[in-house]
Protein backbone atom coordinates (compact mmCIF):
# COMPACT_ATOMS: atom_id res chain seq x y z
CA UNK A 1 0.00 0.00 0.00
CA UNK A 2 1.40 3.38 -0.91
CA UNK A 3 0.51 6.38 1.18
CA UNK A 4 -0.78 9.52 -0.45
CA UNK A 5 1.74 12.31 -0.70
CA UNK A 6 0.82 15.72 0.64
CA UNK A 7 4.12 17.24 -0.44
CA UNK A 8 6.66 16.22 -3.04
CA UNK A 9 10.16 17.58 -3.01
CA UNK A 10 12.67 16.90 -5.74
CA UNK A 11 15.94 18.40 -6.91
CA UNK A 12 15.49 21.14 -4.34
CA UNK A 13 18.34 23.63 -3.75
CA UNK A 14 18.57 26.62 -1.45
CA UNK A 15 21.09 29.41 -1.05
CA UNK A 16 21.56 31.91 1.76
CA UNK A 17 23.28 34.66 -0.23
CA UNK A 18 25.99 32.83 -2.14
CA UNK A 19 26.22 30.01 0.39
CA UNK A 20 24.30 26.94 -0.70
CA UNK A 21 22.53 25.26 2.24
CA UNK A 22 20.39 22.61 0.50
CA UNK A 23 21.63 20.43 -2.34
CA UNK A 24 19.39 18.42 -4.63
CA UNK A 25 17.04 17.40 -1.83
CA UNK A 26 14.36 14.82 -2.53
CA UNK A 27 11.70 13.54 -0.15
CA UNK A 28 7.97 13.47 0.24
CA UNK A 29 5.52 14.01 3.03
CA UNK A 30 2.86 11.33 3.39
CA UNK A 31 -0.66 12.16 4.46
CA UNK A 32 -1.58 11.29 8.06
CA UNK A 33 1.93 10.16 8.82
CA UNK A 34 4.71 11.54 10.95
CA UNK A 35 7.87 12.29 9.02
CA UNK A 36 11.02 13.00 10.99
CA UNK A 37 14.13 14.85 9.83
CA UNK A 38 17.35 13.97 11.62
CA UNK A 39 20.99 14.84 11.11
CA UNK A 40 23.86 16.71 12.76
CA UNK A 41 23.33 20.31 13.71
CA UNK A 42 23.73 22.71 10.80
CA UNK A 43 22.87 20.07 8.17
CA UNK A 44 19.83 22.00 6.97
CA UNK A 45 16.88 20.38 8.76
CA UNK A 46 15.32 23.66 9.91
CA UNK A 47 16.05 25.25 6.56
CA UNK A 48 14.22 22.48 4.72
CA UNK A 49 11.32 22.54 7.18
CA UNK A 50 10.96 26.31 6.87
CA UNK A 51 10.79 25.96 3.09
CA UNK A 52 7.68 23.84 3.43
CA UNK A 53 5.54 26.82 4.37
CA UNK A 54 7.82 29.47 2.89
CA UNK A 55 9.07 30.78 6.21
CA UNK A 56 12.40 31.39 4.47
CA UNK A 57 10.80 34.15 2.42
CA UNK A 58 11.56 36.57 5.21
CA UNK A 59 15.30 35.74 5.16
CA UNK A 60 17.26 38.28 3.15
CA UNK A 61 19.14 36.82 0.20
CA UNK A 62 17.46 33.43 0.45
CA UNK A 63 16.88 31.84 -2.92
CA UNK A 64 15.46 28.48 -3.86
CA UNK A 65 15.34 26.31 -6.94
CA UNK A 66 13.73 22.96 -7.68
CA UNK A 67 10.46 21.27 -7.05
CA UNK A 68 8.41 21.62 -3.88
CA UNK A 69 4.73 20.91 -4.33
CA UNK A 70 1.79 20.85 -1.96
CA UNK A 71 -1.00 18.69 -3.38
CA UNK A 72 0.67 18.94 -6.75
CA UNK A 73 0.82 22.74 -6.69
CA UNK A 74 4.30 24.28 -6.75
CA UNK A 75 4.42 26.41 -3.60
CA UNK A 76 7.21 28.61 -4.99
CA UNK A 77 5.22 29.46 -8.10
CA UNK A 78 4.57 33.13 -8.61
CA UNK A 79 1.11 33.98 -7.39
CA UNK A 80 1.05 31.45 -4.54
CA UNK A 81 -1.05 32.82 -1.69
CA UNK A 82 1.50 32.49 1.09
CA UNK A 83 -0.95 33.38 3.85
CA UNK A 84 -3.33 30.68 2.66
CA UNK A 85 -0.44 28.22 2.45
CA UNK A 86 0.59 28.95 6.05
CA UNK A 87 -2.99 28.47 7.15
CA UNK A 88 -2.81 24.92 5.76
CA UNK A 89 0.76 24.30 6.89
CA UNK A 90 1.41 25.50 10.44
CA UNK A 91 4.67 25.62 12.34
CA UNK A 92 5.73 24.88 15.93
CA UNK A 93 9.11 26.14 17.05
CA UNK A 94 11.78 24.88 19.40
CA UNK A 95 11.05 27.44 22.08
CA UNK A 96 7.39 27.74 23.01
CA UNK A 97 6.33 31.20 21.82
CA UNK A 98 2.84 31.94 23.14
CA UNK A 99 1.66 35.50 22.62
CA UNK A 100 1.76 37.60 25.81
CA UNK A 101 -2.01 37.46 26.21
CA UNK A 102 -4.58 35.14 27.76
CA UNK A 103 -4.76 31.44 26.97
CA UNK A 104 -8.09 32.06 25.22
CA UNK A 105 -6.81 34.95 23.14
CA UNK A 106 -3.84 32.89 21.99
CA UNK A 107 -6.25 30.43 20.45
CA UNK A 108 -8.76 32.89 19.00
CA UNK A 109 -6.10 35.14 17.49
CA UNK A 110 -5.77 33.19 14.24
CA UNK A 111 -9.46 32.44 13.68
CA UNK A 112 -10.26 36.14 14.26
CA UNK A 113 -7.70 37.17 11.64
CA UNK A 114 -9.36 34.71 9.30
CA UNK A 115 -12.68 36.41 9.82
CA UNK A 116 -14.44 34.43 12.52
CA UNK A 117 -16.24 36.78 14.91
CA UNK A 118 -19.14 34.83 16.39
CA UNK A 119 -18.46 34.26 20.10
CA UNK A 120 -20.05 30.80 20.27
CA UNK A 121 -17.99 29.68 17.31
CA UNK A 122 -14.81 31.05 18.87
CA UNK A 123 -15.63 29.30 22.17
CA UNK A 124 -16.05 26.05 20.30
CA UNK A 125 -12.70 26.50 18.58
CA UNK A 126 -11.01 27.20 21.93
CA UNK A 127 -12.40 24.04 23.49
CA UNK A 128 -11.78 21.82 20.47
CA UNK A 129 -8.21 23.06 19.92
CA UNK A 130 -7.25 22.74 23.57
CA UNK A 131 -8.77 19.27 23.76
CA UNK A 132 -6.90 18.19 20.64
CA UNK A 133 -3.70 19.50 22.14
CA UNK A 134 -4.51 17.57 25.36
CA UNK A 135 -4.38 20.78 27.36
CA UNK A 136 -8.05 21.39 28.06
CA UNK A 137 -8.18 19.51 31.37
CA UNK A 138 -5.24 21.49 32.68
CA UNK A 139 -6.37 24.99 31.66
CA UNK A 140 -10.15 25.03 31.14
CA UNK A 141 -10.63 26.91 34.43
CA UNK A 142 -8.00 29.54 33.70
CA UNK A 143 -8.61 30.48 30.10
CA UNK A 144 -8.33 34.16 30.96
CA UNK A 145 -5.00 33.90 32.69
CA UNK A 146 -1.86 34.89 30.89
CA UNK A 147 -0.41 32.17 28.67
CA UNK A 148 2.98 33.04 30.11
CA UNK A 149 1.90 31.67 33.50
CA UNK A 150 1.79 28.14 32.06
CA UNK A 151 4.68 25.68 32.36
CA UNK A 152 7.03 25.20 29.39
CA UNK A 153 5.36 21.98 28.35
CA UNK A 154 1.91 23.54 28.64
CA UNK A 155 3.06 26.55 26.62
CA UNK A 156 4.26 24.24 23.85
CA UNK A 157 0.93 22.43 23.79
CA UNK A 158 -0.79 25.82 23.74
CA UNK A 159 1.24 26.70 20.65
CA UNK A 160 0.10 23.45 19.09
CA UNK A 161 -3.51 24.27 20.02
CA UNK A 162 -3.03 27.72 18.48
CA UNK A 163 -1.85 26.12 15.25
CA UNK A 164 -4.77 23.69 15.28
CA UNK A 165 -7.28 26.53 15.78
CA UNK A 166 -7.10 27.47 12.11
CA UNK A 167 -7.54 23.90 10.83
CA UNK A 168 -4.23 23.21 9.16
CA UNK A 169 -3.53 20.02 7.28
CA UNK A 170 0.20 19.82 7.94
CA UNK A 171 2.00 20.72 11.16
CA UNK A 172 5.72 21.39 10.97
CA UNK A 173 7.58 21.05 14.26
CA UNK A 174 11.15 22.22 14.69
CA UNK A 175 12.68 20.44 17.69
CA UNK A 176 9.48 21.02 19.67
CA UNK A 177 10.71 19.22 22.78
CA UNK A 178 14.33 20.29 23.02
CA UNK A 179 13.50 22.92 25.65
CA UNK A 180 11.30 20.55 27.67
CA UNK A 181 11.86 18.05 30.48
CA UNK A 182 11.28 14.32 29.86
CA UNK A 183 7.69 14.32 31.16
CA UNK A 184 6.65 17.32 29.07
CA UNK A 185 8.50 15.73 26.15
CA UNK A 186 6.57 12.49 26.52
CA UNK A 187 3.31 14.46 26.48
CA UNK A 188 4.25 16.23 23.25
CA UNK A 189 5.28 12.92 21.69
CA UNK A 190 1.97 11.32 22.67
CA UNK A 191 0.23 14.35 21.27
CA UNK A 192 2.10 14.12 17.96
CA UNK A 193 1.05 10.49 17.61
CA UNK A 194 -2.53 11.44 18.49
CA UNK A 195 -2.52 14.24 15.90
CA UNK A 196 -1.37 11.88 13.20
CA UNK A 197 -4.93 10.59 12.84
CA UNK A 198 -6.21 13.92 11.62
CA UNK A 199 -3.10 15.77 10.55
CA UNK A 200 0.18 15.27 8.81
CA UNK A 201 3.25 16.01 10.89
CA UNK A 202 6.81 16.80 9.90
CA UNK A 203 9.15 16.99 12.86
CA UNK A 204 12.78 18.01 13.07
CA UNK A 205 14.52 16.42 16.01
CA UNK A 206 18.07 15.95 17.15
CA UNK A 207 16.82 13.14 19.35
CA UNK A 208 17.08 9.94 17.32
CA UNK A 209 15.15 7.89 19.84
CA UNK A 210 12.34 10.39 19.49
CA UNK A 211 12.33 10.00 15.72
CA UNK A 212 12.38 6.22 16.12
CA UNK A 213 9.56 6.31 18.68
CA UNK A 214 7.04 8.47 16.91
CA UNK A 215 7.71 8.75 13.21
CA UNK A 216 6.62 6.60 10.26
CA UNK A 217 9.21 7.98 7.85
CA UNK A 218 12.63 9.39 8.56
CA UNK A 219 15.00 11.45 6.47
CA UNK A 220 18.66 11.63 7.38
CA UNK A 221 20.38 14.84 6.24
CA UNK A 222 24.06 15.65 6.10
CA UNK A 223 25.65 18.93 4.98
CA UNK A 224 22.59 20.07 3.07
CA UNK A 225 21.85 16.76 1.41
CA UNK A 226 19.14 14.18 2.00
CA UNK A 227 21.33 11.14 2.37
CA UNK A 228 18.57 8.64 2.98
CA UNK A 229 14.81 8.80 3.21
CA UNK A 230 12.88 5.67 4.11
CA UNK A 231 10.47 4.05 6.49
CA UNK A 232 11.54 4.66 10.07
CA UNK A 233 11.97 0.97 11.00
CA UNK A 234 14.26 0.59 8.05
CA UNK A 235 16.39 3.63 8.88
CA UNK A 236 16.93 2.52 12.46
CA UNK A 237 17.34 -1.20 11.91
CA UNK A 238 19.11 -1.53 8.57
CA UNK A 239 19.89 1.78 6.87
CA UNK A 240 21.12 1.49 3.29
CA UNK A 241 23.70 4.21 3.48
CA UNK A 242 26.97 3.89 5.37
CA UNK A 243 26.75 7.54 6.49
CA UNK A 244 23.31 6.97 8.02
CA UNK A 245 24.58 3.87 9.78
CA UNK A 246 27.51 5.79 11.20
CA UNK A 247 25.38 8.69 12.34
CA UNK A 248 22.68 6.70 14.08
CA UNK A 249 25.15 4.37 15.77
CA UNK A 250 27.08 7.39 17.06
CA UNK A 251 30.25 6.61 15.09
CA UNK A 252 30.39 9.98 13.45
CA UNK A 253 33.49 12.12 12.97
Amino acid sequence: MTDTNVMDIEGFNLWYGDKQALFDVAMNVRKNKITALIGPSGCGKSTLLRCMNRMNDIVDGCRVQGKMTYHGQDIYERGTDVMALRKRIGMIFQKPNPFPMSVRDNITYGPKIHGITKQSELDEIVERSLKQAVLWDEVHDRLDQSALSLSGGQQQRLCIARTLSINPEVILMDEPTSALDPIATAKIEDLAVELEKDYTVVIVTHNMQQAARISDYTGFMYIGRMIEFDRTERIFSKPSDELTERYITGRFG
Partner: protein
Protein backbone atom coordinates in the same frame (compact mmCIF):
# COMPACT_ATOMS: atom_id res chain seq x y z
CA UNK B 1 30.80 5.52 21.07
CA UNK B 2 33.94 3.85 22.33
CA UNK B 3 32.30 2.44 25.45
CA UNK B 4 29.55 0.75 23.50
CA UNK B 5 32.09 -0.78 21.13
CA UNK B 6 34.11 -2.08 24.10
CA UNK B 7 30.99 -3.48 25.80
CA UNK B 8 29.91 -5.20 22.59
CA UNK B 9 33.34 -6.72 22.18
CA UNK B 10 33.18 -8.10 25.68
CA UNK B 11 29.71 -9.48 25.06
CA UNK B 12 30.95 -11.18 21.90
CA UNK B 13 33.61 -13.00 23.89
CA UNK B 14 31.15 -13.98 26.65
CA UNK B 15 28.76 -15.44 24.09
CA UNK B 16 31.60 -17.20 22.32
CA UNK B 17 32.64 -18.68 25.66
CA UNK B 18 29.08 -19.85 26.33
CA UNK B 19 28.82 -21.30 22.81
CA UNK B 20 32.09 -23.17 23.07
CA UNK B 21 31.06 -24.50 26.46
CA UNK B 22 27.76 -25.93 25.19
CA UNK B 23 29.38 -27.39 22.04
CA UNK B 24 31.91 -29.05 24.30
CA UNK B 25 29.20 -30.33 26.67
CA UNK B 26 27.29 -31.74 23.74
CA UNK B 27 30.31 -33.63 22.50
CA UNK B 28 31.17 -34.92 25.96
CA UNK B 29 27.59 -35.97 26.66
CA UNK B 30 27.45 -38.25 23.63
CA UNK B 31 30.93 -39.58 24.33
CA UNK B 32 29.92 -40.38 27.89
CA UNK B 33 26.91 -42.25 26.52
CA UNK B 34 28.90 -44.24 23.99
CA UNK B 35 31.69 -45.02 26.47
CA UNK B 36 29.43 -45.47 29.50
CA UNK B 37 31.59 -42.88 31.22
CA UNK B 38 29.67 -41.81 34.32
CA UNK B 39 32.27 -39.33 35.47
CA UNK B 40 32.22 -37.48 32.21
CA UNK B 41 28.40 -37.51 32.18
CA UNK B 42 28.30 -36.05 35.66
CA UNK B 43 30.73 -33.38 34.55
CA UNK B 44 28.32 -32.33 31.82
CA UNK B 45 25.40 -32.25 34.24
CA UNK B 46 27.41 -29.99 36.53
CA UNK B 47 28.54 -27.73 33.67
CA UNK B 48 24.94 -26.91 32.92
CA UNK B 49 24.91 -24.66 35.99
CA UNK B 50 27.66 -22.62 34.40
CA UNK B 51 25.57 -22.32 31.23
CA UNK B 52 22.60 -21.01 33.21
CA UNK B 53 24.88 -18.62 35.03
CA UNK B 54 26.39 -17.27 31.79
CA UNK B 55 22.92 -16.87 30.30
CA UNK B 56 21.79 -14.70 33.21
CA UNK B 57 25.01 -12.71 33.17
CA UNK B 58 24.88 -12.00 29.43
CA UNK B 59 21.20 -11.17 29.56
CA UNK B 60 21.84 -8.56 32.25
CA UNK B 61 24.69 -7.15 30.22
CA UNK B 62 22.56 -6.95 27.06
CA UNK B 63 19.78 -5.19 28.95
CA UNK B 64 22.33 -2.80 30.39
CA UNK B 65 23.54 -2.00 26.86
CA UNK B 66 19.95 -1.39 25.73
CA UNK B 67 19.28 0.99 28.62
CA UNK B 68 22.58 2.84 28.51
CA UNK B 69 23.10 3.27 24.79
CA UNK B 70 19.74 2.61 23.12
CA UNK B 71 21.69 1.06 20.26
CA UNK B 72 20.60 1.61 16.68
CA UNK B 73 21.07 -0.16 13.36
CA UNK B 74 23.92 -2.72 13.43
CA UNK B 75 24.41 -2.18 17.18
CA UNK B 76 20.71 -2.83 17.76
CA UNK B 77 20.85 -5.95 15.61
CA UNK B 78 23.87 -7.18 17.53
CA UNK B 79 22.24 -6.69 20.93
CA UNK B 80 18.91 -8.21 19.86
CA UNK B 81 20.78 -11.18 18.38
CA UNK B 82 22.80 -11.62 21.57
CA UNK B 83 19.61 -11.80 23.62
CA UNK B 84 18.18 -14.50 21.35
CA UNK B 85 21.40 -16.47 21.04
CA UNK B 86 21.80 -17.06 24.74
CA UNK B 87 18.31 -18.56 24.90
CA UNK B 88 19.11 -21.01 22.12
CA UNK B 89 22.51 -21.81 23.63
CA UNK B 90 20.95 -22.46 27.02
CA UNK B 91 18.59 -24.97 25.39
CA UNK B 92 21.47 -26.73 23.71
CA UNK B 93 23.12 -26.90 27.13
CA UNK B 94 19.93 -28.38 28.56
CA UNK B 95 19.75 -31.03 25.81
CA UNK B 96 23.37 -31.94 26.50
CA UNK B 97 22.52 -32.30 30.17
CA UNK B 98 19.58 -34.54 29.27
CA UNK B 99 21.82 -36.71 27.10
CA UNK B 100 24.29 -36.99 29.99
CA UNK B 101 21.42 -38.06 32.28
CA UNK B 102 20.48 -40.70 29.72
CA UNK B 103 24.09 -41.89 29.78
CA UNK B 104 23.89 -42.31 33.56
CA UNK B 105 20.61 -44.23 33.27
CA UNK B 106 21.72 -46.44 30.41
CA UNK B 107 24.98 -47.45 32.03
CA UNK B 108 23.07 -49.69 34.43
CA UNK B 109 20.97 -51.07 31.57
CA UNK B 110 23.21 -52.28 28.75
CA UNK B 111 21.45 -53.26 25.53
CA UNK B 112 22.45 -54.64 22.16
CA UNK B 113 21.76 -51.35 20.35
CA UNK B 114 24.92 -49.95 18.76
CA UNK B 115 24.88 -46.20 18.66
CA UNK B 116 26.37 -45.60 15.22
CA UNK B 117 23.69 -43.15 14.06
CA UNK B 118 23.58 -41.39 17.41
CA UNK B 119 27.29 -40.82 17.09
CA UNK B 120 26.88 -39.54 13.54
CA UNK B 121 24.17 -37.14 14.72
CA UNK B 122 26.47 -35.84 17.41
CA UNK B 123 29.14 -35.04 14.82
CA UNK B 124 26.73 -33.06 12.71
CA UNK B 125 25.13 -31.26 15.67
CA UNK B 126 28.46 -30.29 17.21
CA UNK B 127 29.70 -29.01 13.86
CA UNK B 128 26.56 -26.91 13.49
CA UNK B 129 26.91 -25.38 16.97
CA UNK B 130 30.62 -24.62 16.52
CA UNK B 131 29.88 -23.19 13.08
CA UNK B 132 27.26 -20.69 14.24
CA UNK B 133 29.40 -19.56 17.14
CA UNK B 134 32.32 -18.88 14.84
CA UNK B 135 29.99 -17.13 12.36
CA UNK B 136 28.75 -14.93 15.20
CA UNK B 137 32.22 -14.21 16.51
CA UNK B 138 33.66 -13.35 13.10
CA UNK B 139 30.47 -11.91 11.61
CA UNK B 140 30.98 -14.21 8.68
CA UNK B 141 27.86 -15.97 7.41
CA UNK B 142 29.31 -17.67 4.36
CA UNK B 143 29.23 -21.18 5.81
CA UNK B 144 25.67 -20.96 7.09
CA UNK B 145 24.21 -21.78 3.70
CA UNK B 146 24.67 -25.50 4.33
CA UNK B 147 22.56 -25.52 7.47
CA UNK B 148 19.26 -26.58 5.91
CA UNK B 149 21.07 -29.56 4.45
CA UNK B 150 22.74 -30.46 7.75
CA UNK B 151 19.43 -30.12 9.51
CA UNK B 152 17.87 -32.56 7.04
CA UNK B 153 20.70 -34.97 7.72
CA UNK B 154 19.87 -34.90 11.44
CA UNK B 155 16.22 -35.57 10.69
CA UNK B 156 17.08 -38.59 8.58
CA UNK B 157 19.44 -40.01 11.16
CA UNK B 158 16.82 -39.56 13.80
CA UNK B 159 14.29 -41.55 11.81
CA UNK B 160 16.79 -44.32 11.41
CA UNK B 161 17.52 -44.29 15.19
CA UNK B 162 13.80 -44.65 15.85
CA UNK B 163 13.43 -47.50 13.37
CA UNK B 164 16.43 -49.39 14.72
CA UNK B 165 15.26 -49.07 18.30
CA UNK B 166 11.73 -50.16 17.48
CA UNK B 167 13.25 -53.31 15.94
CA UNK B 168 15.25 -53.89 19.10
CA UNK B 169 12.15 -53.42 21.23
CA UNK B 170 10.40 -56.23 19.35
CA UNK B 171 13.31 -58.60 19.78
CA UNK B 172 14.14 -57.60 23.35
CA UNK B 173 10.95 -56.31 25.03
CA UNK B 174 12.47 -56.47 28.52
CA UNK B 175 14.62 -53.43 27.66
CA UNK B 176 11.91 -51.29 26.09
CA UNK B 177 12.56 -48.43 28.47
CA UNK B 178 16.25 -48.32 27.61
CA UNK B 179 15.47 -48.14 23.90
CA UNK B 180 13.12 -45.22 24.45
CA UNK B 181 16.10 -43.42 25.96
CA UNK B 182 18.07 -43.75 22.74
CA UNK B 183 15.10 -42.39 20.86
CA UNK B 184 15.02 -39.42 23.24
CA UNK B 185 18.71 -38.80 22.74
CA UNK B 186 18.14 -38.68 18.98
CA UNK B 187 15.33 -36.23 19.56
CA UNK B 188 17.59 -34.00 21.68
CA UNK B 189 20.26 -34.02 19.00
CA UNK B 190 17.72 -33.16 16.35
CA UNK B 191 16.52 -30.26 18.53
CA UNK B 192 20.10 -29.08 18.91
CA UNK B 193 20.16 -28.84 15.11
CA UNK B 194 16.94 -26.81 15.11
CA UNK B 195 18.39 -24.41 17.66
CA UNK B 196 21.61 -24.11 15.69
CA UNK B 197 19.50 -23.20 12.63
CA UNK B 198 17.68 -20.57 14.68
CA UNK B 199 21.01 -19.14 15.75
CA UNK B 200 22.17 -19.15 12.13
CA UNK B 201 19.05 -17.18 11.12
CA UNK B 202 19.72 -14.60 13.82
CA UNK B 203 23.39 -14.27 12.92
CA UNK B 204 22.43 -13.76 9.27
CA UNK B 205 20.03 -11.04 10.42
CA UNK B 206 22.70 -9.45 12.57
CA UNK B 207 25.25 -9.35 9.75
CA UNK B 208 23.05 -8.60 6.74
CA UNK B 209 19.80 -7.21 8.15
CA UNK B 210 17.95 -9.88 6.16
CA UNK B 211 15.43 -12.20 7.73
CA UNK B 212 15.65 -15.60 6.14
CA UNK B 213 14.26 -18.93 7.23
CA UNK B 214 16.45 -21.95 7.14
CA UNK B 215 13.91 -24.42 5.90
CA UNK B 216 14.14 -28.09 6.18
CA UNK B 217 12.10 -30.36 3.93
CA UNK B 218 11.38 -32.91 6.63
CA UNK B 219 11.16 -30.48 9.54
CA UNK B 220 8.58 -31.42 12.11
CA UNK B 221 8.88 -35.18 11.70
Amino acid sequence: MKRLAADMKEMTSSITEMGELVADMLERSVNSLVNSDIQSAEGVIKDYDRVAHLEALIEDEALRILILYQPMASDMRFTATALKLITYLERIGKYSKNIAKAAVYLRERPTTYRMIDVYAMCDVAVEMVRGVISAFENRNIKDLERYAEMDDKLDHYRISVIEDNVKHMRIDPTSIEAYTYYISVAKYLERVGDNACKIAEKVIYMVSGKRIEIDSAVRGL
